[in-house]
């Protein structure tokens, strides 16, 4: 969680200086969700994400240097400098792709789960998405398919209350995302998304259910993003001021909460210096890497061979 927070703060600084030019959607404030869910997964399980997926990528053990390099458009980026912040891939770590089309990867995660079921592999696919995603019709189609075919997939809704600049009350009449699976007979529950232990515990139950062939689950993890929809600023969110609300949520910092609990158990706060060094080194290496030359711009429009994972 701390590593995600500090890496995101570094990305935020790169956005502010103009060094990072691609749209960056920071995960600060939501770290407990990626960390809690990914801790409940096995190495062979897969994670599918969206535009705000730096946290998912890092929680699965994606390379920090490759993420920075990707954001900076370098050859050594995790997507070869083709994707930027919104298109992350780490096949070995089971990050099978993040895309900014809202809900774009939700049916893909369901399809991966279909493949695992057909191949009789005990793997689980997880689809991370925001609260706005439940406004997309094909998420409901996807949930129906997952339930009908009893697929090993977990729908993780990170409800940070805002979809871009719109508060949920401007988009829905009822605060009921935790009921989103009910219509499809998918067990759905609300979790405190700023409590890493609560997320881990709920995710573990959902993973166990998926792995034993009982089908999908949905978790609504309540949280708040501290920064704007896109970019690094804290209080101006694509034209919307929400300073008062943010103050409430800063007091519920998921990292401070877990550190307080650890202190109660006699465990000292994490030494952040090694992470500072790691980030410094990763940034340095990313900055040293070359840009993909324009002469290669037409490469890989078509795949030359299939590559299953």
């Amino acid at each position: 969680m701390v590593r995600i927070r500090m890496a995101e703060e570094a990305v935020g600084r790169m956005v502010e200086t103009g060094e990072a030019r691609c749209p960056c959607h920071l995960y600060i404030g939501q770290e407990a969700i990626a960390s809690g869910v990914c801790a409940a997964l096995d190495a062979a399980d897969t994670v599918w994400g969206g535009h705000r997926s730096h946290g998912h990528y890092l929680a699965r053990g994606g390379s920090l240097e490759a993420m920075f390099a990707e954001i900076l458009g370098r050859t050594t980026g995790c997507s070869g400098g083709r994707g930027g912040s919104m298109h992350l891939l780490a096949v070995k770590q089971g990050i099978l792709g993040t895309v900014p089309i809202v809900a774009g990867t939700v049916p893909l995660a369901v399809g991966a789960a279909m493949a695992y079921k057909m191949k009789k592999e005990a793997r689980v696919a997880t689809a991370f998405f925001g609260d706005g995603t439940l406004e997309e019709g094909h998420v409901h189609e996807s949930m129906n398919l997952a339930s009908l075919y009893r697929l090993p997939v977990i729908f993780i809704c990170e409800n940070n209350l805002y979809s871009s600049h719109l508060h949920w009350t401007e988009r829905r009449v009822a605060d009921n995302l935790d009921k989103a699976g009910d219509f499809h007979s998918i067990p759905s529950r609300r979790v405190d998304g700023n409590d890493v232990e609560a997320v881990y515990s709920a995710a573990s139950a959902a993973v166990a259910r998926a792995r034993t062939g009982l089908g999908p689950s949905l978790l609504e993890c309540r949280t708040f993003r501290w920064r704007g929809h896109v970019g690094a600023s804290t209080d101006i969110d694509v034209g919307v001021k929400r300073r008062g609300e943010l103050a409430d949520w800063l007091a519920r910092d998921p990292i401070a909460r877990v550190e307080a609990r650890l202190r109660e158990s006699g465990i000292e706060d994490l030494d952040r210096n090694p992470i500072v060094e790691e980030i410094k080194d990763a940034l340095h290496a990313a900055r040293q890497a070359s840009f993909p030359p324009p002469g290669r711009v037409l490469d890989h429009i078509y795949a030359e061979a299939a590559c299953a994972f």
């Binding site: 997507s79 083709r82 089309i101 774009g104 991966a112 996807s142």
Partner: protein, 333 residues
């Protein structure tokens, strides 16, 4: 050699794919009903189980997205859209996802997916049951698009599409289901991107797509009676399309007609005509003629419908026009 019709050839390709590749499965609407797919999928669910031949809920988008995800995870799905019109609900997984993923992850992933869509024209089915939308997908980098017009190609292109590591849109046409030709029993492939020379000729090149390729052959016979020797090329693949064969033909005949079962504006015929005009400008004696649907939704009522679809008559008229020949009856008079 055995004679199969177009629908039987599609069915045989499916059966051979399902029998030989455990990764393959078919998903889409109407797979368990002859109403949707004609004989092209008949009893496949009985032969290969309903776990591998999956008649899906009415969810074009999620079903197609599921197929993309399954392809990424090592399967070889064929997602079926019994009416191409309904496939418009699945444009995101096709255009934004399947077509993009190899490129935007710099070749680290591939989407070996077959998307099968059926054109269902005629029969007074109207604007939302009749559309031939191949040109919209021909526009998209990362997709391949094939449109067989014979039973032989229907089988060979489906098998080639399944082998391809990329998303391939396979468009077949219910009008062609009854057409028959010799089809080998073995699993042969028709290479994607290669057109077929259906008739050699000296005077004019007729380039046909899907059902219009058959109409081009009929037009060539009509023209032969007027001593016009037409060369007929069946494009078979639209993306990539075989510009080499087409240009070689046009360089010989100096006249070209492109016949497309889709709309005219920004259609497949526009792309092919533009390429011919640019690449073979100095070999052409007259502008390239195009025969395509008018820029108008499909009507239903019979007289309007009959007037809407061009065929061999319109193709032969276009050939005469580019050759500056008078229509047959006038010439005889």
């Amino acid at each position: 050699m055995r004679i199969l019709n177009y629908a039987q050839a599609i069915r045989e390709a499916h059966a051979q794919i399902l029998a030989s590749d455990a990764r393959a499965f078919v998903i889409g609407q109407g797979l368990w009903s002859p109403w949707y797919a004609g004989a092209s999928l008949e009893d496949l669910d009985q032969q290969f189980s309903r776990d591998r031949v999956v008649d899906s809920p009415v969810s074009e988008n999620a079903t197609t997205g599921l197929a993309v995800g399954a392809a990424l995870a090592g399967m070889r799905p064929i997602v079926f859209h019994p009416r191409m019109d309904f496939m418009l609900l699945a444009v995101d997984p096709i255009v934004n996802q399947a077509a993009n993923w190899s490129y935007l992850f710099r070749g680290q992933v591939a989407v070996p997916l077959v998307i099968r869509a059926v054109i269902n024209r005629g029969g007074e089915q109207g604007a939302q049951h009749s559309q031939a939308l191949h040109a919209m997908f021909m526009h998209v980098p990362g997709l391949k698009v094939v449109m067989p017009s014979t039973a032989y190609d229907a089988k060979g292109l489906l098998l080639a599409a399944l082998d391809d590591p990329n998303p391939v849109l396979y468009v077949d046409d219910r009008w062609l289901y009854g057409t028959s030709d010799p089809v080998p029993e073995e699993m042969f492939r028709v290479p994607i991107g290669k057109a077929a020379l259906r008739r050699a000729g000296r005077d004019v090149t007729l380039v046909g797509i899907s059902s219009m390729a058959a109409e081009c052959s009929k037009a060539a016979e009509m023209l032969a009676e007027e001593n016009i020797d037409a060369e007929v090329i069946d494009l078979r693949s639209l993306k990539p399309w075989d510009s080499e064969l087409v240009l070689a033909s046009v360089r010989k005949t100096a006249h070209a007609v492109v016949a497309d079962p889709g709309w005219k504006t920004a259609g497949a015929s526009a792309e092919i005509a533009a390429t011919i005009s640019f690449e073979a400008f100095h070999d052409l004696r007259e502008p390239v003629e195009r025969v395509a649907l008018p820029d108008c939704p499909a009507p239903t009522s019979r007289l309007e419908e009959a007037s809407y679809y061009p065929g061999a008559r319109e193709i032969s008229a276009a050939a005469r026009k580019t050759l500056r020949r008078k229509p047959a009856q006038e010439a005889a008079a």
